[in-house]
Amino acid sequence: MRERLEVLLERLVRASIFDRIVISVAALFAAVLIGGILVFVSGGFASCRAGLDVAGMTFCYNPMQVYYELFFGALGHPLEGGWQFTNGSLATTLQQTTLLIFAGLSVAVAFRAGLLNIGTQGQLVVGGLATAVTVVYAASVVPDGLVGTVVLIPLGVLAGALVGGFYGAIPGALKAYADANEVITTIMLNFIAVGITSTLLSSRFQDPNSNNPQTAPVPEYAEIPTVPVIGFAGRVDFSLLALAFAVALMIAIAWLFARTSFGYELRMSGTQPEAAAYGGVDEKKMTVASMTLSGALGGIAGAFWVLMVHGRWLENVPSIGFDGIAVSVLAGNGPIGVGAAAFLFGVLESGSSRIGTATDVPPELVVILTGLIVLFVAMPEFFRMVGRRYVDVGSAEPVRADGGGSGADDGGENDA
């Protein structure tokens, strides 16, 4: 039995796809563990009426309760009886999951092409505005009702994708033709996106009927419709159709990577640009193309944020794009993994409001947890070392050919 376990463990330590999963799960656990310790210890500094008294100190927070609220609260407390699948918390979780799938895919596409797109946030912001404005204006010429829905939603998503794609193409072109580091340019473009959109908003698109900085609402029939009977209805802004579209897009991207010439070339550019150039890939065009695709996905995230969640574009867009980085990193930049990671971060996102109300722990805990997860995912070697300590794997390193070249040796997918 023990032997078999060891064989299994050993295989996990070795095999690369398991490797990824194991590392992601381990990173999650490590982050949760450290977060828990943080919660407990910080409870010693907080003040409360009653707490756990240890060695003369009062600890106010119970990490177990915090995580219970975080993880189960996000699902609507499935263990507490009277649970309904279509509860509001789960709807929020799935709403976030949907948006994070788009954002995660956006980041993953760029990462796989060897580009660190920190700019999904900005692409989402401009794409979302484009969607809202397009739909609001188009609604005046398109008939309403079902026809409107069928015309306006694809139109809005397309507008978001186009503008987001264009906004992603900018750092791509700057990288390809001016050698400007994309990490820095995308971070800057995020700030610029906020400035441009809010200028556009205040000068042209502000909803005259509102004091909030926001555009006019899209007509109700242009919001993503919910599925009758099985769907989440009513008050929550979530549609199973949107989730289905996100999942379909996820599969499409996976197919693109695995099956198409473009996907092959994109992966190759990200893994070993010299080899890609040798194989006939124009590196500059690929840089622009993959950043455009990435930006378009970011724009789609913005479009769904507008059409599914608020029915309009608001200034102060939530940081879905940044969370997309965490999603993609946790997923090892694999499109299918993005789905799972997006769900996890959806849970964190929706659970964070549960923390805010049901516990006294500051909801910023979720940001810390996200950071910790990313940190641990970034250091797979840590878990391999731990793994090796418990399982003796003589040659865990794959036997590889003469290490002369350094480029290929680190095998890192994320070379900056």
Binding site: R259, T260, E265, G279, G280, V399
Partner: protein, 547 residues
Amino acid sequence: MSEPGMGTTDGIGPTTEVGEHTADTKSTGSDLAVHLDGITKRFPGVVANDDVDLRVERGTVHALLGENGAGKTTLMNVLYGLYEPEEGRVVVDGEERTFDSPRDAINAGIGMIHQHFMLVDPMTIAENIALGNEPTKWFGMAVDRDRIDRDIRDLCDRYGFDVDPGATVEDVGVGVQQRVEILKALFRGADILILDEPTAVLTPQEVEGLYDVLEELTAQGKTIIFITHKLDEATHAADAITVLRDGKSVGTVRPERTSREDLAERMVGREVLLEAESEPVETGDVVLSTQDVVVEDARGVELVSGIDLDVRAGEIVGIAGVDGNGQAELVEAITGLRTPDEGTIAYEGADITEWSRRRRIESGMAYIPEDRHERGLVMPFDLVENGVLGSQRSARFSDGGRIDWTGVRDHTEELIETYDVRPPNADADAQSFSGGNQQKFIVGREFERDPSLVVATHPTRGVDIGSTEFIHDRLLELRREGVAVLLVSSKLDEVQSLSDRLAVIYEGEFIDVTDPDTITEEELGLRMAGHRPGTDAVDGPNAGESR
């Protein structure tokens, strides 16, 4: 160089196997600078050194001879404190030592000049020489740059070097860089110098210069260990030769008591044919033609300065030259990885100067790249995925958008079988194959593209002798089938024996295009060093003296 027959090496005969020495080394009476005793060093899956013995006498040049991967570098890294051996003793100057780091080795008077220079390119020569050993002033608050300059000047005077300490390393040639490496060791007070394949990047004339330096050094009492896999160098420069094969020592010999053939056999473990054959063949139309091609680097320096070249169908044109003389850039311009700054490139009659790399691939240009790790293969991809590299959009494997992976797999498996890639596992990552097998796979993929032109750069670099023969045979076969071949190699015997015409490149220009069968290796060496034929070839420095 010490004269053969002198010194105390008499006891070491051609067949002497150095056995276990349990006795105190001092009691042997001979003056050993280095004694490595029963060294074993393992890497995951490889025994790099297997119970190796090495005895090096003071004031001599000792060659360490062996094929690629024989374990030479590893053995020296053990001596230099970079690796800790699993078994065995390291005895330096009669004292047993354990080196935990190069620092310990340096303190014990050992200096190592690595195969790849260990220089920091953007720093000056002086900074490089002093690196890690900087004398300081003001209680360690500042590097004492005056003292460094003074010390370097002293060293240069003493050993007859001529370097400018203020020059930046990336601005000077490899010959100078090597001297910087030697100075670096001497600066640290090294008495024992290890040189790892010091001649690989030098012209024959620079090699002669290096021999002079070695002679000067041994004359002043320094001990040299000299790693090489070139037979001639070993016999020429060394006072004693230890041959390694597969990590084991196969004996220490004196050069004057052995022959090249004998050494070659020890190295390889079987008899070797030292030259490949190429019989003349009918040539056809011009397939590739370059005119006045100029390539500049980012700073505007010309790397290729106006090259004219024709390659006909059924012909192998060789380009010989010391690495870094523009051959790489020329090839990149031809294959489309770089746009020439001037000039035109024609292919099967069409002007392809502006064509993309992809278009060139599609029109039948096969290319074995110089660097298989960076270009030829995507290391973390498996062989199936690598099998379609370059053809990912060709009609053969795709419909324009989708790749036909079943077809690719069949093709890859065929390649693996035909080209004897081992292990025959199409699903293994490229990085898990040994260099030779990687190369065979690349060669196969390119050859089976049904090309009309093959551009092969260093097609057998790092490949064992058996596979080398196979690759050469296939190349000749293609030529017979009427394919035009452009062959770039730094192995002189390879270009010489395979080519129908041979061009020598020096600083971006063709010095000469000749019939490879009529030119001698010395002449070739002179051309590679920039001497134009017919001018000063005969009275060039060291001409004719080396053999």
